[in-house]
C-alpha cells in the first residue's frame, strides 16, 4: 500500500523535476527524508498505479525547431468517437489527444488533438491525415494556432 503522506512529499519534491546528475533519486530522497531505495520503490508503485504517467524528459519542442504547435478540434459523431479517438491518438505526430464535452451552442467540438511540426506545410499535412482518418464521421473541425505561450509550468499541487 502507498502511504499518502509519502506520496504527497514525493510529488512536492519532484514536481520541479529531477536533477541531471549521476544519482538524481538520491538527491530527491534526501529532500523527502527517506532512503533512496524506499523512494525508488514508492515511485515504482506510483507508476504502476498510474499516479505517475511516465518518468522521462519533455523536450522544449519550440526551441528544437518545432515551431508550429496546433490545437486541432473536431466534431466527431458520438457513436464513433471511441474508435476514432484511439486512431488519432496513435498517430506519431499527435502529442495529446483527448475527448472533451461539447458546450453547445458555442462549442461543438468533442475531440482535441495537438500536433507539432517544424513547418507550416508539415502541420497542414498532419491535419489532412487526421481529416482523412475521421472521414465522414467528422462534421466540422477548426484549428487554433498558438500565438503566444503566456504561462507554462509543471504541476503544482500544494
Amino acid at each position: 500500500m502507498l502511504d499518502p503522506v509519502l506520496v504527497k512529499k514525493v510529488i512536492a519534491a519532484t514536481q520541479n523535476g529531477l536533477p541531471i546528475c549521476d544519482r538524481p533519486y538520491r538527491t530527491i530522497a534526501e529532500e523527502v527524508g527517506v532512503d533512496e531505495s524506499e523512494l525508488l520503490v514508492t515511485m515504482g508503485k506510483m507508476l504502476d498505479q498510474g499516479l505517475i504517467r511516465r518518468i522521462g524528459l519533455v523536450p522544449n519542442h519550440y526551441a528544437l525547431g518545432y515551431r508550429y504547435n496546433l490545437m486541432t478540434v473536431w466534431d466527431v459523431e458520438d457513436e464513433h468517437i471511441l474508435q476514432l479517438g484511439q486512431h488519432v491518438g496513435d498517430l506519431d505526430f499527435v502529442s495529446h489527444c483527448y475527448q472533451r464535452p461539447r458546450q453547445e451552442p458555442d462549442w461543438n467540438y468533442n475531440l482535441f488533438a495537438m500536433v507539432h511540426g517544424r513547418t507550416e506545410p508539415e502541420v497542414e499535412q498532419q491535419v489532412q491525415i487526421i481529416r482523412e482518418l475521421l472521414g465522414s464521421s467528422c462534421l466540422a473541425m477548426t484549428q487554433l494556432n498558438s500565438l503566444k505561450i503566456l504561462k507554462k509550468t509543471g504541476l503544482r499541487i500544494r
Binding site: 523536450p59 526551441a63 528544437l64 504561462k151
Partner: protein
C-alpha cells in the same frame, strides 16, 4: 537550435521509461553505447540551451487532483490584462494565446474539483467574457511524448 543525431537519439530514448534505478544514466549509457559522463554533459548542455522543457515524473493530473481545460473569448486589446490575472493563480500551469474567438486557453489543476471551480468562478467574476470549461472525458494519448524526427 539544431540537434545532432546523437542528441536526437538520446532525447528520444529518455522521453519515457527513464530507469527507476540508483544510477539511471549508467544504465542508459550501456544501452546507448556512450559514457554516463557524456550523457550528463550533453543533457546539461541541452538544458542550458533551453532545449529541455522538463525532466522528471509526469503526474497524472486526473489522479493526483482535478483538472480542466478552460478558454475565454477576450477582446484583443484586453488579452494581456486578462492573461496576467489568470496567470496569478498557481492552479493555472499552462496558458496559451490562440488564434480563435476563444483566444485564451489555459489548464487549471487543483487538489479537487471544488478547487478548479473556485479558480474559474473567480475569473468569471472578474471578467464577464464567454468561458468554456472542458474537462477531459477520455484520453486517447496523454502526454506520453512523441518521437522527434
Amino acid at each position: 537550435m539544431k540537434l545532432s543525431d546523437q542528441d536526437r537519439k538520446l532525447l528520444n530514448k529518455i522521453q519515457k521509461n527513464f530507469p527507476l534505478h540508483p544510477e539511471p544514466f549508467k544504465l542508459l549509457a550501456e544501452e546507448l553505447a556512450i559514457s554516463e559522463q557524456e550523457i550528463l554533459l550533453r543533457l546539461q548542455e541541452l538544458e542550458s540551451q533551453q532545449a529541455i522543457s522538463r525532466f522528471g515524473a509526469v503526474f497524472n493530473h486526473h489522479r493526483v487532483g482535478s483538472s480542466t481545460l478552460a478558454a475565454l473569448a477576450v477582446p484583443e486589446q484586453e488579452i494581456e490584462e486578462v492573461a496576467a490575472f489568470v496567470n496569478t493563480f498557481v492552479e493555472v500551469n499552462h496558458n496559451y494565446q490562440r488564434e480563435h474567438d476563444y483566444n485564451l486557453w489555459f489548464v487549471v489543476n487543483a487538489t479537487d474539483q471544488s478547487g478548479v471551480e473556485r479558480v474559474l468562478d473567480k475569473i468569471a467574476a472578474k471578467f464577464d467574457y464567454p468561458l468554456l470549461n472542458l474537462p477531459m472525458v477520455k484520453g486517447y494519448h496523454i502526454d506520453l511524448g512523441f518521437p522527434l524526427w
